[in-house]
Amino acid sequence: SQELEQSPQSLIVQEGKNLTINCTSSKTLYGLYWYKQKYGEGLIFLMMLQKGGEEKSHEKITAKLDEKKQQSSLHITASQPSHAGIYLCGADIQDFGNEKLTFGTGTRLTIIP
């Protein structure tokens, strides 16, 4: 089973609207990362959250970490075409004594005019 579940898998949003992407872990989170990937390209780091209740913002993107619920959310305000892409959450998950950076399956975001 997938250790990190993202929802929704895909999202089509009209330009200017707000949206939220969720990431839920089946194991204890020690660090949660959000990356963005454009088709055919590598991942670009967005934000890192390390403490329960932590919230970070960059331009119109805000991410929160709910450690108790083992969950994080990524919120985009007033979406723009430049926000289109695949959003991936990654987490440091304990695996036989090693911390391994594991990724979710991603959320494909499409922005329509």
């Binding site: 590598g42 399956t105 991603g106």
Partner: protein, 115 residues
């Protein structure tokens, strides 16, 4: 600052052939990762190097995949022989941190198609 360099950008081979990918991390980055990303899935860690030593290769199919990081700088990932299910994007990433995970810097990847 130069980013993580990967080559080739694309590769098409037939099954049972061999293929190699190259990665040059950001200068000074101690940790290097190879990830496999199958279409529609998140990246899966294949191998993690700390300088020229292997930290984690638990998900590397060692019967056909091999990787090395000579001199603790650039790295090569090889598949021999390739199978159809190896079709994926192979991403290289590096990080300056010696212990634990932190922000990773990714290359653009090598897209492999096995026919």
């Amino acid at each position: 600052e130069a980013g993580v360099a990967q080559s080739p950008r694309y590769k098409i081979i037939e099954k049972r052939q061999s293929v190699a990918f190259w990665c040059n991390p950001i200068s000074g980055h101690a940790t290097l990762y190879w990830y496999q990303q199958i279409l529609g899935q998140g990246p899966k860690l294949l191998i993690q190097f700390q300088n020229n030593g292997v930290v984690d290769d638990s998900q590397l199919p060692k019967d056909r995949f091999s990787a090395e990081r000579l001199k603790g700088v650039d790295s090569t990932l090889k598949i021999q022989p390739a199978k159809l299910e190896d079709s994926a994007v192979y991403l290289c990433a590096s990080s300056p941190k010696k212990y634990g995970n932190e922000k990773l810097f990714f290359g653009s990847g090598t897209q492999l198609s096995v026919l």
